[in-house]
């Protein structure tokens, strides 16, 4: 078998000029498939160093001059052009609601196979793209192969651990043609970035502590444990419906899908809609007063107890073990 030479495009997300954690995961996954090129939408990166360290041979900067140029169909058209120009046969994106729309448009435009929410991506002996996916609240694992020569894959965050490449990439910055509005009928009336919390992003964090209705709205024990673990705070829909936490941090089938290394659910019953968004997590820990709560059926470690007592004690002990207190 000859080594694949077609480049792989990794559409890297960024914030404040710096790559998000998912960006480095995509590059790590991408470089196992072929020479990986980062695609950076918007203003150029402050520093291409992290992209180089994770193996990016090229960084294609695609300017997005207007809000309409940032809509999924517009971005997809720009990516299709870039895939054509570079001869890339795989495009990787970080899973998310917006990314799936871009991926679908791109696959539609290029005739590529579409594989969303993959937890792993590889090439088989013939160079075909093969992905692993979880289904039915992660109670099933599927492996699928692309049947056509090109594939668009969205990768779940934390599915791959970002590691620097043995040999860094050159990360040669090339400015590509700007994205253009694909549909003149659609107007962006308003686009506002939602304020990021001081804690890690729930969709990306490798530790997430989720509080449910059992918190009765008092999230201080949940936040305290999240901080002791250096993790993010998440919530169930009951919590966001009550307005105790913003909708952004809702974990589940209709919210953010997460697969952190560690999930802690406190006062969370483990309803199927919630499970669908977290059951692929590495280790699942639950604290619940009800010994019959469904979450205990799929937890690796459960404590039947009151979160208001268990969480602060756990946080204090974690800080002690880590030598922070």
């Amino acid at each position: 078998m000859t080594a694949p030479t077609a480049p792989v495009l990794a559409v890297v997300e960024h914030h404040d000029g710096r790559p998000r954690a998912s960006a480095l995961e995509l590059l790590t996954a991408g470089r196992a498939l072929g020479p990986v090129h980062a695609v950076w939408l918007g203003d150029p990166p402050d520093d291409a160093g992290p992209l180089a360290a994770h193996g990016a041979a090229v960084v294609h900067v695609v300017p997005v001059p207007t809000p309409e140029a940032g809509l999924p169909a517009s971005v997809a058209a720009a990516l299709a052009g870039l895939a054509e120009a570079t001869g890339a046969d795989v495009v990787l994106l970080a899973s998310g609601f917006g990314a799936k729309e871009v991926a679908a448009r791109l696959a539609h435009a290029t005739g590529a196979a579409l594989m969303v929410d993959a937890s792993a991506v590889e090439r088989d002996g013939e160079g075909r793209v093969v992905t692993t996916q979880q289904a039915f609240a992660a109670s099933w694992t599927l492996r699928s192969a692309a049947q056509v020569g090109r594939a668009v894959v969205t990768l779940r965050s934390n599915a791959v651990r970002a590691t620097p490449a043995e040999t860094p990439g050159a990360a040669e910055v090339r400015v590509a043609a700007p994205a253009r509005p694909a549909d003149p009928r659609v107007r962006v009336v308003e686009r506002t970035a939602r304020p990021a919390s001081d804690r890690p992003d729930v969709g990306e964090a490798d530790v997430v502590v989720v509080g449910g209705r059992g918190t009765q709205g008092d999230f201080s024990p949940v936040e305290d444990l999240a901080d002791a673990l250096g993790g993010a705070v998440g919530a169930t829909r009951d919590v966001t419906d009550e307005g105790w936490q913003p909708h952004d941090v809702m974990v589940g089938q209709t919210g953010v899908t997460i697969s952190p290394r560690l999930y802690v659910g406190a006062g969370v019953s483990g309803a199927v809609h919630h499970r669908g968004g977290m059951q692929a997590s590495g280790t699942i820990v639950a604290v619940n007063t009800d010994p019959d709560a469904p979450i205990f059926e799929f937890a690796d470690f459960g404590v039947v107890g009151d979160l208001a007592e268990v969480l602060p004690q756990a946080a204090a002990e974690i800080r002690r073990l880590r030598g922070q207190a």
Binding site: A73, W140, T141, R143, Q253, T254, H273, I284
Partner: protein, 262 residues
């Protein structure tokens, strides 16, 4: 206003959901329902015609038992429903599904233009969430997906959508395609009158031939991906302890033992 709302019949979330050996969703002996998230789509469509007049048509693609999905939509109050089915559709991927739904929407425009196509945000079986986007592409309609808020005024649709890190407000003239999230509304329960009307309603069935589609372009053989393997995950072997005053410390110890404090 003439609105087509696309709905899907999916295995009940509480049922023992599984895959067949060739990687398709196993429907044998598994209770199905209208995808819950499509109830929000039906609700959104009904509210728009209740305010502005017009009709709502429910459209589904699927085998015989998928009729239950449009029946539920009829119970909620949609005016009529159609189902597309064909043996050749088995194993269709999202691209084929979108192509078929698009052809059916076009056919529904034979007796008057369709102003709006409404879908749910995702089907709770596959959860790919890509059919609305592909359908908009096929129909060349403005795409206003993942609406948490939706309004139509003076022939213009406006939606608010919350993406991963941003909130957007988008506008486009009708006709357009909209998908709605479960935040968009609270779906109604069918009223008695709706249940009676749904019982009497005829649901026409269209085949690929009726839609002028080539069977070779759909179904498993035309799919752009193939499932190599589908396997149930072994259940987690968990430990559950009862807090007797040291539950928090034992939790911390568990994390330390499993290298999760590193």
């Amino acid at each position: 206003m003439k609105i087509v709302v696309c709905v899907k019949h999916v295995p009940d979330l509480q049922a023992d959901r599984r895959f067949t050996d060739d990687g398709r969703v196993d429907r044998e002996g598994v209770d199905g329902t209208l995808n819950e998230l499509d109830e929000n789509a039906v609700e959104a469509a009904l509210r728009l015609v209740e305010a502005a007049g017009g009709e709502v048509i429910a459209l589904t693609m699927g085998p015989d038992d998928a009729e239950d999905a449009v029946r539920r939509a009829l119970q909620m109050g949609v005016h009529r429903a159609v189902r597309v089915t064909d043996d050749a559709l088995a194993g269709s991927d999202a691209f084929a599904t979108a192509a078929v739904l698009a052809a059916a929407v076009r056919r529904l425009a034979d007796d008057g233009p369709v102003d709006l196509v409404v879908t749910g945000m995702a089907a709770l079986d596959g959860l790919m969430s890509v059919v609305p986007t592909l359908l908009a592409a096929h129909l060349d309609l403005p795409q206003l997906t993942l609406a948490a808020e939706l309004s139509v005024a003076d022939g213009v649709v406006r939606v608010r959508r919350d993406l991963d890190h941003v909130t957007e407000v988008l506008e486009a003239p009708l006709p357009a395609l909209v998908s709605v999230t479960d935040q968009a509304n609270e779906a109604r329960y069918p009223a008695f009158a709706g249940i009676m009307a749904a019982r009497k309603a005829q649901v026409p069935v269209w085949s690929l031939a009726d839609l002028g589609l080539d069977p070779a372009a759909v179904g498993g053989a035309a799919a752009r991906t193939r499932v190599l393997e589908a396997s149930p995950r072994p259940p987690r072997e968990g430990v559950v302890i009862t807090d007797t005053g040291d539950g928090g410390r034992r939790l911390a110890a568990f994390l330390a033992e499993n290298g999760l404090l590193a």
